[in-house]
Every structure is written in structure tokens, then in C-alpha cells.
Symmetry: C2
């Protein structure tokens, strides 16, 4: 019979290396913080605004879908691993609209099979990692970045290597220097992927400048005879632009269609609960991704897919996104104006006013430790009852060292009043630590 | 610039070993067969009956869900990685009902955290493989088995080792012999998992006898001081019993709660389109599975979860399952009675009349090759326009050799008339090959 002590040893050998690589999931830790401190104003949660969730549009779409027996059965039956053809065709049109081209082989320049659906964009990011990254391989990532992706890369036993980033996104000079250094170390053949959140990234809401998009694709294409590298473009926030127009995707500069995988989601611009994301994949990655997905779940939820297809068909989507933009602009302004009022005169405190996305990146003087176990976080949560995401979680770190004087603030969940109040509280906590 | 020839070589190094292990996905191949031959009567598809899909129950539940702003927002917002607590609590009650105990620590003897939701049961099977199987590890599987699981095990770079099976499921003597042989070869420490479809399995609709369930857990528990092995009990067809009552789960014999992971799904008994499955996990596997799932999709579709929760709360589920059983019994009888009429007098042709599940396992004389590239399949599809799943796909094989004289027939999709017609056609094809 197993006793506690006799099971301890076997457990050590029992779990896989993949499990070890996946441990210390940051999201889980952060969710626990939120659950443990429900009294806090949350500038932490990366959720979308509950008040903007599309209840009305969903109700109308689901009513039509379930009153049509063919659509209803399609939504309740299994789908193919790549997802409902009906939605995929609609998404080609949708993508063509974003790209400003026609939805055919002349405009988008892809076969319809290259659009594959996934459970949110996160699953597509994970599948692309699984299809390309072996243990010890390298993914280059603009730093700071979306921390969940760091977990996914590490979960393959692969290594994230940081590329410097400024107000125009990933720096091309830093990318070139890093590639040259890795080549000199004989490590170039381990570089399989470059990950970039192209529009209004998480955590800074910074976008990659258009000329850098072109240059990024050029650099990778030039290298391709020596080493094939996949650029994974995460465009999760693409639709959430507030002050201008959207930029052409990195993917649009990939003339051969072999270099960039474009990954999008309807989590931010419609509903995260449906978990519908998609990837536009280089032709030769479609089979590998589908084989992996086949083994993992053999297809995402068809109900969500047919529901979203109905939303798109019935013209319920565009007006929702317009409404969303209007709602988030007001909230962005509430947060950043409160920052100006309460922190405008404090030396060493800086932030970016984003022109899209859901986040404000705040820098405090270097001697202030904003990490989970630091004094500021503790004061903010315990005394001021406001929560944020410590910026060090978004950094890859060099030799384990990460800047600890940055905060990711989100204006996604709370309303304007609470955002302003939350910023006032946070400002008090910051001033107290100075 | 990349040229076709210059990209060919890098591609070879570009894809991961995991991709190589996942190649040759059987489901994809079979789906292609179905798409290429829409004229065929399908005794192949493992889908559920489209006529029994719960359109009415879903409509009623979704209407209540979307008219309640709190529920509506919960369904449209992100959920936790483990899934909606509301559904998980309802599933504990549901499971307690199946097990004939109370839904508390005294009855089910588990913490509520041990119930984790997944995208269908397939994702939970895949997560358990990822959490435990390293390349070269071994999973023991009753042969023949659910072929998707073979792909998932192989996808980890792990090895499926067959255990003989008879009309009472996995043979305990074969299991003991195999474990002893592996021990003698110094391979026991590579055995991490035993996979068993306990009720009305795929492909034979055979159930594991109750005394074997008890013995299976005993054997693994006795070994646990030497080597920890996880029994994965796949109970996907548990609710689909037709002629008797359900058996106690393998999991119910696991007194310590450390040995068996019970995996269930609502795909067969309600709707595959919702993709809601769950696992009851040993306590120390909850964290590892959630870390892996967090990296893969950080949570399944919350809309489906809250929809199913509403179905359960509103008492719409039990009557649907009753209706399903009634519908499938009729179809089982149509298929097996047609088999008796058309093949009853043919020597060497045998089948099992199942008391649950969706499949009839048909054996033909050994000299008939029923494989995809064999004469029978070709004749059935091309001349008789009826399709089946070649049984060799369900076998693990010993040294690459698999029996090729078996057929998996499903009475899931087609109606009684077409099932009878399909069997008549298949019988003609078989007779022609004799």
C-alpha cells in the first residue's frame, strides 16, 4: 500500500519534464491574488469590460442560430479540427477588410485552408510553439512582453531571449545584434521563432512602427537560406485603436507567405468567453498544427464558432467594436488624467498614454520595488486596496535580473470612476514609498 | 530571398520532434475519406445522431442564461483555467449520482478542486499524457482501443504497449504478464500510465468487468511503492447503457484517491459541439494539469460551461439522456438485426451485440483484408457506397503487425433505415470478398 512517504519518491519520477517546464504559472498566481483580495480596485485584471460584453448581439445571433435546425445542429455537433468552414470563410473576408485587400487569392494571397481556428489566440500561440520549438530552442521576444507567452515558450523547454524595445516596439538594431551574437556563439540554428505583439501590446500598449514591420520580415527572409525562423505576430488588440487608424500587419509584408504566422482573437474585440481565435499560417505549418491540435482536442467548440459566424453574418460585429472603442477611450482618459493629477509632479514617475489597447505602463523611480513581494505592492493592496500587475513579470530578464520599478495598469475592467479612484489610491501608495 | 530549394532543408530542422511524433493523424485521414465520399452511408463516423442533438434544451437554457445579466456576463467573460465553479459544483452532484454516493467529502471523498474542466474529454486525456509521459515512457492500453488516444500517447514520444482484451475488457492476466515482462527488461520505471475505456469502449462497446476494475486498482496500488502508475479511466460512454444498469467506476475502487484519473465528457450524452469534458484528478496532479492547460489555452469556453450548467440546473439533462438511450437502442437493433439477416449464415463472420455505446465490432475471416488499402474497403466505398472504420486502426500492433480482418461499425449518425441498408450493402461487399 502507498504511504505518504513511499509515494513521495515515485512522484518525483512520475511527472514529465514538460510538467516541470510548465510549473510556476504566473496567471494562476495572479488570479489567486485577485480572489484573495476582492475588496481591491483592480488595475491588474486583463479582462475586458463586463459592461461592454455583447449580451444583446449574442442573444440575437443565438436566437437565429437555434431557430434554424441546420445551424443549430452544426453548433451542437462535432466540427473539424481546423474549425467551421462557414466561420473561416467569413474570417477571410473580415481579415481582408482589416488588410484593405480583397478576400481572394489575389488580395490575401492565401489558400482558405491556411486559416485555422483555435481556442482563443492562446491555443494557436501554443500550437505554433509546439510545432517548432524543441527543448533548448530559442524564441526572440520584444521585452517586456505578454507573460503568458513566456510560460508557453518555457513550457516547451525552450528559451526566450529578450530584444530591446522602445516606444516604437521591438528595436531592429537590438534584433540584429542579438542574431549576430547568437550566430557567433553557434546558436543561430536554435532560433526558431520571433514573437511580436504588433498592435498596442501587452503590457505597454506600444505598437511596432510600420518601417520596423517591413524590416523585421526582410531580416528573417534574408536569413532563411541559413536558418528558417517563424515570425509569430500576435494581433490580439488589433481592433482596439482609439486615436487613429490601424497599421498594416507584419504579415502583410511577407510576400512569399512562408515567414509570418498571424494570430488574432475575438476575445478582446467581442467576447473572451467564446474563446475563438485564429491563425493565418504558412502553408507548410497547417498540417503540423492540425496534427497537434487533433491530438489535443480534435477541434474547438463548434457552438462558439457558429455563434460568432452568425454575429458576423448578421452585421452585429462592427457596431459592437465601435461601441467598444468609444467606451475604452473614456476609460483610458479617466485613468491617464488621474495619473496626471496625482503623479504629474513626481520626479521619476512616467507613463505612456496609449492610442489603443487596454494597458498603461507606469515607471516609478528605480529604488521603488514594485514586485509582488515588494513594499509598494503590499502597501497598495493592504492599505490602499488597489491592485496592479508588477512589471517584472513581463520581463524576460537577463541572468535572472528584471527591472522591478514598473507597473502594468489596465483600464479594462473597472469603470471610469473607479479607475480614477484606483489611480488616486495607487498614487498615494507610490508617494509613500518615495 | 528564399527559393523553394533553399527552404526545403531548413524546414527539416525547423519543425519540432513533437510535430514528428504527432504526424499521421488518423482522424484527419478518416475525415478526408468522409468528405471525399459524401454519397456513402456512414457506418464510420463516431459522431452522435444529429436528430438527437438537444436543440430544444439548449434553446431554453440559453434563453434563461442570456436574460440574466450576471449569467450572461459570466458566459461571455474569461473563466478560470479550471473552469466555472458553478458548473464544477453541479458536476460533483452529477458524478455523485452516477456513483450512488453523496456529493461531499464523505461520499465522493474528494476536494472540489479535484474536478477540472477541459475542451471535451480529449483535452483532459492529452493533458494527463503531457503531465506524466516523457519521450520513451510507456502507456499500457487494452487492445484494440480508441485510436485518437494512440495518437496522443505517440505525440509525447511515448510508447503504447498492448494488453489483451476479451468480452470483459482488459485481461488482468495479460496485464500482469506484461508488467512482469517489462520489469524483467528493466522497463517498469518507464510505465507511467494504464489507459482503459471502462464502459462500452471504442471500438468494441465492451465494458470492463467489475471484478477486473477492482483488481486493476489493486495491482497498481500494490506496485506503487516501486513505480507510480496512473490509471486513466475514460468513461466517455458511461451514460449510454441500454440493457442494464451502469457499473461502478474504476475510480470508485481507488480508496486513496492517488491512482485513478476519471475522465468524462458531455459530448456523447448531450452535445459534442459544446466541448465540455472533465477529469477527477489525484490531488497532486491538479496543479500540473492546470499549469499545462494555462499555457495551452488558459481556460476552455466559458459560454459552453455556463450553458451546460444552466441545462443541469433547469433539469433539462436527465430527460435528454433517457431520450438518447431510447433512440440508440432502436438504431443498435436495426444494425445488428440486419447483420443477422445478411451475415448470420456466413462462417467466420462474427459480431458483438453491445449493451451500450455506439459501436458494433465485426470480425470477418482472416483472409479478408478490411484495411483502408484493402479490397473490402475499396469495394464497400466504391461499389456499395458504405463506409466503415478499418479495425486495424484501433490496434496498437505487435512489431507493426495488426489484425486486418475487423471492422468498427457505428450506429451513431445514420437513421435505422439507412443503418439496415448500409449493413445490407456491407454484407454484399463482404460476401463478394469471401
Amino acid at each position: 500500500m502507498a504511504t505518504p512517504s513511499s509515494t513521495t519518491d515515485p512522484v518525483g519520477r512520475f511527472l514529465s519534464r514538460r510538467r516541470d517546464w510548465s510549473a510556476n504559472n504566473v496567471v494562476g498566481f495572479m488570479m489567486k491574488q485577485a480572489v484573495d483580495h476582492p475588496e481591491c480596485i483592480s488595475l491588474a485584471a486583463g479582462l475586458v469590460d463586463p459592461q461592454t460584453l455583447p449580451i444583446e448581439a449574442t442573444s440575437r445571433a443565438v436566437e437565429r442560430m437555434l431557430s434554424d435546425p441546420t445551424l443549430a445542429r452544426a453548433g451542437l455537433q462535432y466540427e473539424t479540427t481546423e474549425g467551421a468552414q462557414r466561420l473561416r470563410d467569413l474570417l477571410l473576408e473580415y481579415l481582408a477588410g482589416l488588410e484593405g485587400v480583397t478576400a481572394d487569392a489575389v488580395g490575401l494571397k492565401i489558400d482558405r485552408d491556411q486559416l485555422v481556428l483555435s481556442t482563443g489566440s492562446q491555443q494557436m500561440l501554443a500550437l505554433l510553439c509546439e510545432a517548432t520549438l524543441d527543448p533548448g530552442d530559442i524564441c526572440l521576444i520584444a521585452d517586456p512582453t505578454y507573460y503568458v507567452m513566456l510560460g508557453t515558450v518555457n513550457g516547451q523547454g525552450a528559451r526566450a531571449v529578450p530584444i530591446e524595445s522602445d516606444a516604437d516596439g521591438m528595436r531592429i538594431d537590438s534584433l540584429e545584434r542579438t542574431l549576430a551574437a547568437l550566430d557567433a556563439e553557434g546558436q543561430l540554428q536554435r532560433v526558431k521563432m520571433i514573437y511580436v505583439v504588433s498592435d498596442f501590446d501587452n503590457p505597454r500598449s506600444v505598437s511596432l512602427a510600420t518601417d520596423r514591420r517591413r524590416r523585421l520580415v526582410e531580416i528573417v527572409t534574408e536569413l532563411s537560406g541559413q536558418q528558417r525562423i517563424l515570425i509569430v505576430e500576435d494581433a490580439a488588440y488589433r481592433e482596439l485603436y482609439y486615436d487613429g487608424v490601424s497599421r498594416p500587419s507584419v504579415w502583410s509584408f511577407d510576400e512569399e507567405g512562408e515567414t509570418v504566422a498571424l494570430v488574432q482573437t475575438f476575445s478582446k474585440c467581442f467576447s473572451p468567453g467564446l474563446r475563438v481565435g485564429f491563425g493565418i499560417l504558412p502553408r507548410d505549418l497547417v498540417g503540423p498544427v492540425l496534427d497537434l491540435k487533433g491530438n489535443q482536442d480534435f477541434g474547438s467548440t463548434s457552438f462558439s464558432q457558429h455563434l460568432l459566424a452568425t454575429v458576423l453574418e448578421d452585421g452585429l460585429f462592427a457596431s459592437h467594436v465601435d461601441h467598444l472603442r468609444d467606451a475604452y477611450v473614456v476609460k483610458r482618459d479617466a485613468l491617464t488624467e488621474a495619473a496626471a493629477v496625482h503623479l504629474g509632479d513626481v520626479e521619476g514617475v512616467e507613463w505612456l498614454v496609449p492610442d489603443g489597447g487596454l494597458y498603461v505602463w507606469l515607471t516609478v523611480p528605480e529604488h521603488v520595488d514594485a514586485g509582488f513581494d515588494g513594499a509598494l505592492f503590499n502597501r497598495a493592496v493592504q492599505q490602499e486596496q488597489v491592485m496592479y500587475v508588477p512589471g517584472d513579470l513581463c520581463h524576460i530578464g537577463v541572468d535572472g535580473v528584471r527591472p522591478r520599478n514598473q507597473l502594468r495598469l489596465s483600464f479594462g475592467v473597472e469603470n471610469s470612476e473607479r479607475l480614477a479612484d484606483g489611480m488616486a489610491r495607487l498614487a498615494r501608495a507610490i508617494r509613500a514609498e518615495l
